[in-house]
């Protein structure tokens, strides 16, 4: 076992362990904060895979954006209005079946795929090649996603504005 293995298992434990806590804890705020460690662990695994740009995007979007929004929402409803939000289990059987089927699908894909294995090489930075791909090959999808986000932004702004009437 070399250092990379140890670091990989460390991040894997952080990811899986905190994900378990996210699901099992009864307090929504705790779930939100444990999500921080889950995202962080995933980031670490991205770094180990040599996907530096993706790792930073993961922190930026998930921790810097989505998680903060989530905590904000939960906090505003939880402490200020004195409504205790608790997570509970509903519809145990359908959920178990759904999760089982999904798990089976994922595991079977993992087993049946013919994974390409390559000798370990020093990871190269991916920023430039990602940029070329986004602007050349996937430019249509890229622009469409940009327009979609813009529409969402304008929609949110107009909803927030309507209160005055």
């Amino acid at each position: 076992m070399n250092y990379y293995d140890i670091i990989f298992y460390l991040f894997a434990i952080i990811t899986v362990g905190s994900a378990v806590f996210v699901v099992t804890t009864r307090n929504v705020i705790y779930s939100a904060f444990f999500l921080l460690f889950t995202f962080f662990g995933v980031t670490g695994i991205y770094v180990l895979l040599g996907a530096d740009f993706l790792a930073v995007v993961q922190i930026m979007v998930y921790i810097g954006g989505i998680l903060i929004l989530l905590i904000f929402g939960v906090m505003l409803t939880n402490t200020i209005t004195n409504v205790e939000i608790r997570t509970g289990t509903l519809h145990l059987l359908p959920a178990a079946i759904g999760v089982g089927v999904f798990m089976g699908a994922v595991v079977s894909v993992m087993i049946w795929t013919d994974w390409k294995s390559q000798p370990v090489a020093n990871p190269v930075t991916t920023t430039k090649s990602l940029g070329y791909l986004l602007i050349n090959e996937y430019v249509l999808i890229f622009e469409l996603l940009g327009i979609l986000l813009l529409i969402a932004l304008i929609g949110a702004a107009s909803i927030a504005r309507r209160e005055k009437e």
């Binding site: 530096d52 930073v56 903060i68």
Partner: protein, 355 residues
């Protein structure tokens, strides 16, 4: 630096730890000297003397303060959420310190030469926001929660103009790496980005006014991101006691101070790398003239620290001359003025750099 220690010790982890000690020492020094300087600067700006009793001109004051903080009893009210309350100060410092991994102190002293440097620095500041929210919520105190909310809203809003200005610099230099950005502005001060970057031509002179605008925008927004006056509404003393760290005392409070001063130096360093050449000397190197090349990295570290400290001084200067903004003013400054200007600036710099 890392390579040197790796050759010396032959161990990845030990050499990594040794390299990480330098920024840590720097942060501690920034806090110690920064607190003292803040008192002195504020005092002299208000025509007072400041600390004078402990040591020569109060220079031992910082050590006295530090000892006082260390031996304080750790008090926490019973209604706090123990786990999160104790984690938050550590996490807030982690977030502030993580940025130092990518900041080049000189051409030899870089924690990690990652290609995504500046992007990484923006991203890890998100961790600070999360831990501020954690601190504010777990303290179970109205002032803390309000302060945390204000702080998070402010930091998230002001990240946008910061990112836009950084984007325009990235467009101009064509790299995200902080080390390469500093290298591009080498030799003399007219190669600095604020004066249009390296290379002569029409574009350089056209760029100068827009670079200055960009610098002003990023300086205002980084000031807001570190929660300094005039943007210190998250910890506004007259309204919120101390904002999100009202309930903290002793070493945990010191962790918040550490992260605040660490952040101050980090944003000053980022601004100086983006616009003022980073570790590059404005007048060429003494080591080159005297032909002693080992001297150059030390000179670079000196210039880097000097620039960082200069911007910290400007932050203090602004703190003690400007009144605090109201919440609505704060938001309108960001969304109605800084962001549109930053967008226009971005587009113009893009067009000029195509010329």
């Amino acid at each position: 630096m890392y390579q040197y220690f790796y050759d010396l010790t032959g161990n990845v982890i030990i050499s990594g730890l040794i390299v990480a000690i330098f920024p840590l020492v720097n942060v501690l020094l920034v806090v110690l000297i920064g607190v003292y300087l803040e008192r002195k600067v504020s005092a002299h700006m208000q025509d007072r003397l400041g600390p004078m009793r402990t040591g020569w001109h109060g220079t031992l004051q910082l050590i006295a303060d530090f000892v006082k903080l260390l031996q304080k009893e750790d008090i926490a009210s019973t209604e706090t959420d123990k786990g999160l309350y104790n984690i938050a100060p550590v996490l807030v410092f982690t977030g502030a310190f993580a940025a130092y991994a990518a900041i080049p102190f000189s051409s030899k002293l870089i924690g990690s030469e990652i290609e995504v440097g500046i992007f990484y620095v923006i991203a890890v500041s998100g961790l600070v926001v999360v831990s501020i929210l954690m601190a504010g919520w777990s303290a179970n105190n109205k002032y803390s929660l309000l302060g945390a909310m204000r702080s998070a809203a402010q930091i998230i809003s002001y990240e946008i103009p910061t990112a836009l200005v950084i984007l325009s610099i990235v467009m101009l230099t064509g790299t995200l790496s902080l080390g390469k950005m500093s290298e591009l502005q080498t030799a003399y001060f007219w190669n600095w980005n604020i004066l249009g970057g390296a290379g002569f031509g029409l574009a350089k002179f056209l760029l100068i006014p827009f670079m200055v605008v960009g610098f002003i925008i990023i300086y205002i927004s980084t000031l807001a991101e570190t929660n300094r006056t005039p943007f210190d509404i998250p910890e506004a003393e007259s309204e919120l006691v101390a904002g999100y760290f009202t309930e903290y005392c002793g070493m945990k409070y010191a962790m918040f101070m550490l992260s605040e001063y660490g952040n101050m130096f980090a944003v000053s360093a980022i601004v100086s790398i983006l616009f003022f050449g980073g570790y590059q000397s404005p007048f060429g190197y003494l080591g080159n003239t005297l032909n002693v090349h080992w001297l150059i990295p030390y000179e670079q570290a000196f210039w880097f620290l000097l620039k960082g400290w200069f911007f910290i001084f400007v932050q203090m200067w602004l703190r003690w001359t400007l009144p605090r903004l109201r919440v609505d003013q704060l938001m309108s400054v960001c969304w109605k003025y800084l962001i549109p200007y930053a967008f226009v600036n971005l587009i113009i710099i893009g067009i000029i750099s195509l010329l």
